[in-house]
């Protein structure tokens, strides 16, 4: 059963998460004119941020052993090929995840 400490941590983590999401909107409120560099930046930021997320998801890989990177590499190739072939996100995500689970549970 969760105790008081668990509830305190839950509250702190929830508040901290919300703070990171609200911060930009508090720094640059809707009514005020935004600097031009910020508007230009916000146009190119999404492409860079998604690229960053992909790499962030792969932060745990290492190259000293084949099992350190091959499952991720193979599964990402599967995701990409499936997606370039059918362009069905469900198929690409589902297929890639099943492939990865088989690789880490049975093969490596």
């Amino acid at each position: 059963m969760p105790d008081t400490h668990d509830y305190i941590l839950l509250g702190v983590i929830a508040a901290g998460t919300a703070a990171t999401r609200f911060l930009p909107f508090l720094l640059f409120p809707a009514g005020r004119k935004k600097p031009r560099w910020l508007l230009r930046l916000s146009n190119v930021l999404p492409s860079a941020a998604i690229a960053m997320l992909v790499v962030y998801c792969l932060k745990g890989i290492y190259f000293t052993k084949p099992q350190g990177f091959l499952p991720e590499l193979i599964a990402l190739v599967v995701v990409s090929l499936l997606h370039l072939w059918k362009r069905q996100p469900l198929l690409s995500i589902g297929g890639g995840t099943i492939c990865y689970m088989i690789l880490v549970q049975q093969v490596f």
């Binding site: 508040a15 609200f22 930021l45 860079a48 599964a75 996100p89």
Partner: protein
């Protein structure tokens, strides 16, 4: 708004969020199983998914709870893991500008997945844009809560090897990355994103590289925009 419009928005939002439904149910199950293994009951899993509502942070939270860290440590860890959300807000300042009463909830629900979907759908028409954003955010929130509950129940009933299930998040971002690559002509921002993050990860290790990567990306993009502007001036 008329009812037919509402149905149309719900339908579009549901179709657009289907990949996230799959990823969130799978990931949510992963989280629910972990929490069940750690001995936490259903309502606590529900509270976490409903009020924290941040995938990777909740996985981190399982270990924070288990090791009974101090609230300050938990807060610092939260800032570190979720600092990337600052990027999302910065790029949506304009798009979320006129969303009225829905705005606080839209910002609260700005997960990686909701952000990437909102970014990749610039064509949502103006008169029902807020309704569309709200529906997408709400559906994703519900999928996530449902996944956690299913996982927690499953984890208590049947032994289930969920190892590797978290790859669905990587696969989801890869798909969005490919879509965005196809839709944009200039790939320099995406390449800056990859290069800065890879270099930071190699230099600073897996635990503290993301904030540094964000600073490098912001600096790199601003430099790129400045160069482009100068070229325009000469053209």
């Amino acid at each position: 708004m008329r009812t037919t419009n509402k149905v149309k928005v719900l339908k579009t939002a549901f179709i657009d969020t289907l990949p996230i439904l799959v990823a969130f149910i799978i990931l949510g199950i992963g989280f629910g199983v972990l929490m069940s293994d750690a001995g936490y009951p259903l309502f606590f899993v529900f509270l976490m998914s409903a009020f924290i509502y941040a995938g990777s942070m909740q996985f981190v939270a399982v270990s924070l709870l288990a090791s009974k860290v101090t609230p300050l440590t938990a807060l610092l860890m939260t800032f570190l893991v979720n600092a990337r959300h600052i990027f999302y807000g910065l790029s949506l300042l304009e798009r979320y500008k006129d969303t009225g009463k829905a705005k606080p909830y839209l910002i609260f629900g700005l997960t990686d997945e909701t952000y990437s979907l909102v970014c990749s759908k610039p064509h949502a028409t103006d008169d029902n844009r807020t309704a569309y954003y709200f529906t997408v955010t709400l559906l994703n929130h519900l999928y996530w809560i449902a996944g956690g509950i299913i996982g927690n129940v499953l984890g208590n009933v049947i032994p289930f090897n969920s190892k590797g299930i978290d790859f669905s998040m990587t696969a989801l971002f890869m798909v969005i990355f490919l879509e965005q690559w196809k839709q944009t002509k200039n790939h320099t921002p995406a390449l800056i994103g990859i290069a800065a993050t890879v270099v930071s990860r190699i230099v600073f290790g897996p635990d503290h590289f993301l904030v540094i990567a964000m600073v490098i990306i912001a600096a790199g993009l601003l430099l790129l925009l400045q160069l482009r502007k100068e070229n325009e001036d000469y053209a």
